[in-house]
Symmetry: C2
Subunit: 210 residues, 2 copies
DNA sequence: ACCTGAACACCGTTCAAGT
DNA sequence: ACCTGAACACCGTTCAAGT
């Protein structure tokens, strides 16, 4: 009796949390499972596929939360909440953003379900045509995942690099001084999501509730 | 008389255009320059630094175009134009988006200058406080670079993967059908930038010109 | 059905030594 | 100042062969 794909994916997720994405190799993963690296290719066709399935597990907690807004006019709040939930799910795993970046939605089905739901809500509740609804949904996912990647990566910004940026670019230096403190990541995430939601409100057809 | 850093960076850019980012290794680059791989470490401290300098060259065409809007009230048009110019500059090199993704602004100085200018315009012309101006600028860069990465990467989406997405997610399937055609990338880019610009207008203090 | 052994074709980086 | 030789410590992936 050998290993199963689900076990492979969950072990990979544990190694990710312990050592980060750049230490997650198929050889290490195989070692952890007590097999040789090529054995993994029976369970998974490539490393990218493994990362896609890991993304599926990472984003799975969102799926029960995807019911649309009870009141269609409340779609902006629903979208903010959904973006926040995705952000949290990605932050819950070390390098979760980087794993999800570029994931194929055919394998990261939970992420696909999030995308699908956002398209529906932007189409049906916000009143965008389907093409723009899907563009909007893509932009939301890209922004949430992209911001999470930066948040989880900024360990490796050296103080010297920061000092150089500061000395070259005075407005950014002043801005960085204002953005000290542990809540800045959360505030910046909220700000970015708000920009998008307000932008979507601006391009959406006017609602009777306005 | 040996090689110079500028020569290293420009040769790297040529190899990038010819073979793409995943084939750009320090060994190949060294071979192209007629030296051994470790020789590159005299000119550049790491591969990431090389990519940062490549980003600097890629984004350099923007620098002469960075004068702010003549009329402060015209900042939304200025921002759309600047985003478009950055997009074009990144598209001008194979995998240009991926190279710029995560570049350090202390070495990719031209990209730093773009960021700095956007912060200034959002602060002085749009009237955002400095913290939000820098958050807004960061969001713009992230969106432009992120969309360019996706645009330049979508060669490797297999038809089978697409078919699976289509069969699982009906709204996305319908949306994809509407988004056929060669202009969709440009339209989607414009849509995403518009979302952000409209969002910024919404959070900016009202202007006398409104 | 599930895995191993052995190999292919590579990586980025370090560092003593050479000129 | 600029580069080589040799090595360290790895990678993802393929494929014939084994059980």
């Amino acid at each position: 009796m050998g290993i199963e794909r689900d076990q492979v994916v969950r072990t990979a997720l544990r190694l990710l949390d312990e050592n980060g994405l750049e230490k997650l190799s198929l050889r290490r993963l195989a070692g952890e499972l007590g097999v040789q690296a090529p054995a993994l290719y029976w369970h998974v066709p490539s490393k990218r596929a493994l990362l896609d399935h890991m993304t599926d597990v990472i984003v799975a907690p969102l799926v029960p939360e995807l019911a649309g807004p009870s009141d269609p006019a409340a779609w902006p709040d629903w979208l903010r909440r959904t973006a926040g939930l995705l952000h949290e799910a990605l932050l819950a795993h070390r390098d979760g953003g980087a794993v999800a970046l570029g994931a194929g939605l055919h394998r990261a089905v939970a992420l696909g379900a999030v995308a699908e739901r956002i398209v529906e809500v932007l189409h049906e509740a916000a009143g965008l045509d389907l093409a723009d609804a899907s563009r909007g949904a893509g932009t939301v996912l890209q922004l949430v995942i992209g911001r999470t990647v930066e948040e989880q990566a900024l360990t490796d910004v050296t103080p010297e690099a920061l000092a150089e940026v500061r000395s070259r670019f005075p407005s950014m230096a002043a801005a960085l001084a204002l953005r000290q403190g542990p809540d800045d990541d959360a505030a910046s995430f909220r700000f970015a999501v708000d920009l998008l939601v307000e932008g979507l409100r601006a391009v959406a057809p006017p609602d009777r509730a306005d």
